[in-house]
């Protein structure tokens, strides 16, 4: 099988790789959503993941995070095989995500929304010791995304951009090593996009590896240090953003 050879060549693992995906495949019935995806992400990277609608970006995220089970291939994270682990176990290992459409806990206040990953992920790792500490971190995290004044409000009182910030804050609360931001900026204005990008950059400076999935090219190009392109479930390009954008195959995929 030539595809296997291909993936081995692309997915060479170095000892600093945080995430390593080998030969990953996922199908829905007869539809092949992902085919032989190989991808390595080193610790501290800022990776942009782009592709047309339906190219398999979200499916890839779901396979990495355990929401979907991949039939083929393997995902390794921080030196551990993730196959067979539930989504919550992967979160505890340091793999956090935000959802494409914000999915807040609608009956809980913003502070309680943040409290959930603190109680169930951070506390489970044994790094939080008191209710006071949980309380402090809730407010600190809400402060970081500028939502502290609304700590006791419910998610339905939020604007679109605030909702996305809450989504990010909740993912950040789990203290991840790798954060996957799935279209965190769709539908936002320029200044709002800047806000989110600043937030992500600050997080990356603190040592969190970030995979940014985005349609807004301006945002992707300004944030990413490396760009991966998915088209029809296949990885067609991987490299420096400028070089990737000049790739004729990528141009063809985007411009038809």
């Amino acid at each position: 099988m030539s595809s296997v050879m291909n993936s081995v060549a692309n997915g060479t693992m170095t000892n600093t790789d945080l995430l390593q995906i080998d030969n990953l495949g996922k199908r829905f019935g007869g539809f092949v959503a992902l085919e032989n995806i190989a991808l390595s992400v080193a610790a501290g990277e800022r990776l942009g993941l782009i592709g047309p609608n339906g190219s398999g970006k979200s499916t890839l995220v779901n396979c990495i995070c355990g929401t979907l089970k991949n039939e083929q291939g393997a995902v390794r994270f921080d030196g551990r095989k993730l196959d067979g682990l539930e989504a919550h176990q992967r979160t505890r290992l340091g793999l956090a995500r935000s959802f494409q459409l914000p999915r807040p806990f609608v009956s809980l206040s913003l502070a309680d929304n943040i409290r959930i990953p603190l109680l169930y992920t951070v506390a489970a790792r044994g790094t939080i010791h008191s209710a006071r500490e949980v309380e402090d971190r809730c407010h600190h995290l809400l402060g970081e995304v500028g939502l502290e004044a609304k700590a006791q409000r419910l998610p339905r009182d939020l604007t679109q951009v605030e909702m996305r910030k809450l989504e990010l804050a909740r993912a950040m609360a789990a203290q991840p090593k790798l954060l996957i931001a799935d279209e965190a900026m769709a539908g936002l204005t320029h200044s709002e996009i800047e806000e989110i990008l600043t937030l992500l950059s600050r997080l990356n400076d603190q040592g969190v590896t970030i995979i940014l999935i985005e349609h807004i090219m301006r945002a992707v190009m300004s944030f990413s240090r490396r760009l991966v392109v998915l088209v029809s479930g296949k990885k067609i390009a991987d490299g420096a953003p400028d070089a990737v954008m000049r790739d004729p195959e990528v141009e063809r995929a985007y411009l038809g």
């Binding site: 999915r103 806990f105 009956s107 809980l108 409290r115 169930y120 006791q152």
Partner: protein, 338 residues
Amino acid sequence: MRTPTFLLICLAIAAAVFAGSIAIGNDYVFFAGYVILQYVVLSTAWNILGGYCGYVNFGTAAFFALGAYSTVAIYKLIGDNELPHVIPIPVLMLVGGAVSAVVGLGMGYLTLRLRGAFFSIATLALAVVLETLVVNWDYVGGSRGAYVIRPEELPLIGSYIRYLFLMMMLLAVAAISIARLIEHSRLGYGFATIRDDELAAEASGVPTLRLKLIATTLSGALMGMAGAPFPYYIGYLQPDSTFGLDYAVNSIAMPLIGGTTTWIGPLIGTLLLGSLQQVATVTISSAVNLLIVGFLLVFFVIVAPNGIVGLVYSYWQRKPEEFVGRRHVDADAPGPVP
């Protein structure tokens, strides 16, 4: 308020109610009160899965009947001889609770991949399957039913119904305390995330399947415990009535009327609806009970969709849901994750 303080207050109220009922001097108060207390346990138990986690269980009667038939099985096992064959009610409750807990856990494993109406239908099916089993199981009376002879008098307390009433009262206190403890703990937060969005819950590190199994087991166990003394209360146990629709309907209606997101909702709903039914049984007819439930449900769905608790809070501060949002973790340390 800390849990021990809360428990003491509950016990004080329970003692006052018991003393008050004795003071009335008519044992019928105990017969009527027992049913209301039984529903306090059933609706509180239902609410742990239905209200906190958002999984609507139509199988209350199944768990209740499991508790009741566990008692019948034990009664038959010991035999109708002249020995003082009455096992203490708390022991029967523990056995009935254990049987129901196991079935609750099993039901959870089988059905919790189903959401919404599909889960509810599966619980309904469980009730039908169990009823069929009991009807065809001669040892516990089959379709003929089973007689359980209760002792006339007990030392200290007096008539046996007083003893049953007292035991059910203690179980109600325990159930309410457990529900309140859950609500203010990490487990309660986890349950709320399951109600809101399971995918997001998993992404936040909540082990949703394990939490749901805890909820079905606990909920089932409490329902079974409520059913265990029932054969001694009713004297003649029959599958038709033990698996009756009333239990499922009432244990859903009561939390809905009271309010599903807090421990006090099912309590208020039960005291209101349960008392009303008891009064109607005496003054009009017992057949009117389900009619009352129907009318009240329609009324509350229109006027107060968040139940009485939601109504009170919206009057008080015009933001009913904020009440839910302002819960705090009771424990000092987060402790091990369940």
